[in-house]
Amino acid sequence: MLSTEAGAPRRPVITAWSAVSPFGLGRESFELGVSTGRTTAQRPDTGVWGVVADPVAHLVPDFEVRQVLGRAGTRGLDRATGLVVTAVRELLRHAPDIVDDSGLTTAVVLGTTAGSAQGYADVTRASLEGRRPQDVPPVALPNMAMNRAASASAIFHGLRGPNSTLAAGRVSGLLALEQGRRMLAQHRADRVVVGATEEYSQARSWLEHHRRRACDEAAALGEGSAVLLLERPDGIGAERTVLAEVLAVTSCVDADGDPVAVLRSCLSAVLDAAGASSADVWAAMPSSCGGTPETGEVRLLEDMFGTEAVSRPAIGSLIGDTSAAASVFQIAALLSTAQHAAVGDRGPDGDRLALVSAVDPDGAVACALLRLPSSGR
């Protein structure tokens, strides 16, 4: 039984979120896509993407950076950056006040795999093929640092607090949540835009094709960006309500080639930290999507929390493997699902616990436990 007393949250809270996803632009299209369970796979148009390794991929429809964001300041902006700048723009529609104080106390923490792999590859190729090695397109050079997406989000939206970019593979979103939580705890910011971004590209297609071991029946790649607004529970902005309280985040490293065992101890720890038991968990959202190698992850979640908790559609099966962005999309999917769930489908006090887990093939493992209050929206 959950020992944490219900009522006013004491831990950081998520008060807004948005996404640019294969379902389209903004939160509403994401919610609609999740509720209808529509899959978004399509054959990548070689006229747009060149020759790619994937028979199908999950692409953000009609996303051309300069058409979506306008021409000011978008010259040369890479797709991964364009996706998150747009997602933050959509987020600000739900939280316009966060730049009111000149943005000084709003932080940004974003996860990435390696920035825009396509952008780097294009510059290196230009250097190798040009008349001189420095004949690379200058307009691409601001993209040549992995912090481009986070810093461009700050420039576009006037967010001048701490601005961080981290890389932790598929657990990036959960570690971004943890870093954001720590920034709030240490009073380095009053609110944090936590998110991640991943673009589809020819370079990513082939890199992932060669990264995946031959025996893997890997899910199709997906792209997009999801962002959450994390605030201190005692200082949430006007006209916002608590959508989720972040009870605990924990992460470990699989040093022995047994990710399921590591995830099991991670899950126990996150429950302990929240004073919860596995029976309290209403929904559990694994990182693996249909057919990925992490079926062990799903089986473990079913063992611990029951098949019903894991029965909601894994977001990865709808929007593909979004790599660094995957775990933020998992949280977004839980928030969507909770909103649409039947009123009767709740714990005794009306609150529900939801769990997100993530396993990266390189060895990072993480999970987070959220409380979804009955009063949220």
């Binding site: 021409r71 010259r75 040009g130 004949d135 200058p138 307009v139 050079l141």
Partner: protein, 73 residues
Amino acid sequence: MVREIICNVLELEEGELSPSGRFREDYGADSMNAVEIQSQIEVALDVEIERDDLRRMVDLATVLAILETAKAR
């Protein structure tokens, strides 16, 4: 050719660019645009523009004058 490059980088219509219109003050250019103009001209005309010359390239007229000397070198 040079006019076309500058208009392309500064995102101007050809008619908007005057010989003495200053890139920075009149057309909102920044240091990255300057490098971009330099780069495109170097590649298109097969010339080298020195750093000191780049600093003096503040409008179309100075760019054309500097290119004359660069080609003479």
